[in-house]
């Protein structure tokens, strides 16, 4: 069904009306169908592997589904009881609060340090910029599980290099929840910085030189130039990065789960990602786990409205 030759034929046969109309509709139909045929496989794959499970998840959140039900493959419908239990569980609220504070700290540090490093990249000489960029790419490429193991080793209380550098003796970095999540934050920010810095740096490169020079000639101090010239141009990219970071950090799982350790996860140090996992796999309560998942998805959906709208606008033009 090639559309263009059909069109040229139409021009040639314009006197023969009925044939033209039929051919036109068929050609048009073909052309309309092409994009749908092209996206069909992707939609089918996503529908089968994600659409169905998400529906299943919603369904599951209304059922009692524990170990016995898992074995029998059937749950019992209990309406909103799972949500009732979750929302009346202080662990849920404490975890949510902890995760929000944790996310705010991680995103704040990532974006703050990221902006500073991007500005630093602009100011250093080339012979410093090259190793700094290479270092960022190297850190960026580290698999998360590998990064976790390296940080686990560096923060070991007996022979960890951090205790050696700061002369802390046998300081236990995992003694309190605050300290545990502090190390997790350091690990996450370290791993997230390269993406933020390199993207912001690319954004900075798009700030027109003339604008900065004009502002300087008009006597603007560096801080004013930054605030009134550079930042407004960088703002869209900054907002996209911030919303991406919020979404990623809110649902983080691998870093806290592995760095704090599989056997050291308690209600007192859960983050949402870990909480939902433990609820299902350790407590074997899939119904309540599903209810928590749904609540989590709703929170992230609200958080990501900005990013999705931005991306739709890009894809639609």
């Amino acid at each position: 069904m090639t559309s263009l030759p059909a069109d040229t034929q139409i021009a040639a046969e314009s006197s023969f009306r009925p044939a033209r109309r039929r051919r036109l509709t068929r050609a048009r139909l073909g052309r309309y169908a092409i994009p749908y045929l092209l996206i069909l496989p992707v939609l089918a794959a996503i529908g089968a592997v994600l659409g169905y499970p998400v529906g299943y998840l919603i369904n599951l959140s209304f059922q009692r589904y524990g170990l016995p039900e898992l074995i029998q493959h059937t749950g019992e419908y209990i309406g909103l009881h799972n949500y009732y239990l979750v929302l009346h569980d202080s662990v849920f609220w404490n975890t949510l609060e902890r995760t929000i504070v944790f996310t705010a700290a991680n995103v704040g540090l990532t974006m703050g340090l990221g902006t500073l490093l991007a500005l630093l990249l602009v100011r250093v000489s080339t012979w410093v910029r090259i190793p700094l960029t290479a270092g960022l790419v190297l850190v960026w490429s580290m698999p998360v599980v590998v990064a976790v193991q390296v940080w686990y080793w560096m923060t070991n209380f007996e022979n960890g290099v951090l205790n050696a550098i700061f002369h802390l003796g046998q300081h236990d970095w995992y003694a309190s929840t605050f300290s545990q999540l502090g190390v997790v934050t350091a690990l996450i920010v370290w791993g997230a910085l390269p993406f933020v810095v390199i993207t912001l740096y690319a954004g900075l490169a798009q700030v027109p030189h003339e604008l900065v020079e004009a502002a300087e000639i008009d006597g603007a101090r560096p801080w004013r130039v930054l605030k009134d010239v550079t930042f407004p141009i960088l703002k869209p990219i900054f907002l996209v990065l911030t919303s991406l970071s919020i979404i990623w950090d809110f649902g983080v799982f691998t870093q806290p789960y592995l760095l704090i350790g599989r056997e050291h996860q308690y209600a007192s140090n859960y983050l949402m990602g870990v909480y939902v996992y433990i609820k299902a796999y350790s407590d074997n309560d899939y119904g309540q786990g599903a209810a928590i998942s749904i609540l989590m998805l709703l929170i992230v959906a609200i958080l990501s409205v900005f990013y999705v709208r931005k991306m739709v606008r890009i894809g639609d033009t």
């Binding site: 994009p35 496989p41 089968a48 250093v124 850190v139 698999p143 599980v145 809110f250 939902v276 989590m296």
Partner: protein, 299 residues
């Protein structure tokens, strides 16, 4: 005369001022350079420490020397073939299988969808984009439960097929979105010119579009490779059998308790896991770094 003198002194003052600013800028730059070097050292230190520990002898690890003065491959040997940590090669092969199939299948599917997104305007385009972007936003921890239970229904828990299917779904949105960026950049005129010259749409597609998109295809597939090689959450839940686990799950079980962990072997194993990713990543990083935020500045 007096006008000329005034002009000369003004020029002199200006030259003096610009010399001063230049000197101040130079001093400033030295300061920034020092900060830059310090930052580089701090950033790279964990990676350096991993590699350095992997090559040290046990004594050097315990004494905390900075560099492996007597480099040894002993830790790599015990990571790969040690009896404490079996299944290294099984895990590598599992990972290669999962990654290979995921890359092949997802690239074919993603390419078609990306062409649709880049070259056609159709009803439902917006909805499709929202679905694509939305999936990337889903917290994966929230989806483990239904995926686990659904795959369990079909007897796919503990099989590599189940993992491939799962990975594909999660890499597809990214792959489609990135490829779209590469295809959009190709001028429509090129295709039209080929069609005017008498090739069919398919011919124009194969001869014009495909070669131009090839770099994008390579870059995107490398990123799919890296994402699936690094994935941990789903592999951890879906592959509960050590002989079937992927390399990241293997590595995650490597730590003992903190008193008897074999640090040298752990770091050697970490280095081995990271090597393919680092190599590929550095190859394509430039091409793809901005896939996620592409157009955000101009848009």
């Amino acid at each position: 005369m007096s006008v000329g003198a005034a002009a000369a002194s003004r020029a002199g003052r200006r030259a003096e001022r610009s010399r001063r600013t230049r000197r101040r800028k130079l001093a400033g730059r030295t300061g920034w350079n020092i900060v830059g070097i310090a930052v580089t050292v701090v950033l790279v230190f964990p990676v350096f420490w991993m590699i350095s520990t992997a090559f040290k002898s046990d004594d050097e690890i315990l004494s905390g020397s900075w560099l492996p003065l007597h480099p040894t491959l002993q830790h790599f040997r015990s990571a790969i073939a040690g009896t404490d940590h079996p299944y290294f090669w099984d895990s590598v092969l599992n990972s290669l299988f999962v990654v290979g199939v995921t890359v092949a299948l997802s690239m074919v599917l993603a390419f078609f969808a990306a062409v649709a997104l880049a070259k056609y305007r159709f009803t439902g385009l917006k909805f499709f984009i929202v679905v694509m972007i939305g999936i990337q936003m889903l917290p994966q921890a929230g989806l483990i439960i239904p995926l686990y239970l659904v795959l369990r229904q079909y007897g796919m828990v503990g099989t590599l097929t189940g993992v491939v299917v799962t990975y594909m779904t999660f890499v597809l949105p990214f792959a489609v979105w990135t490829l779209r960026g590469f295809i959009v950049g190709i001028p429509r005129e090129l295709e039209e010119a080929a069609m005017v010259d008498g090739s069919s749409r398919v011919g124009a597609f194969v001869r014009i579009l495909l070669p131009l998109v090839a770099p994008g295809l390579v870059a995107t597939s490398v990123f799919v490779f890296i994402t699936s090689w690094n994935e941990f959450i789903f592999a951890n839940v879906l592959l509960n059998n050590h002989a079937k686990q992927t390399i990241t799950v293997w590595l995650s079980y490597f730590t003992g308790t903190s008193r008897n962990t074999d640090w040298g072997a752990l770091m050697a194993a970490s280095t081995l896991t990271a090597i393919p990713v680092v190599a590929f990543f550095i190859l394509v990083q430039r091409k793809i770094a901005f896939g996620l935020t592409a157009g955000a500045v101009k848009g």
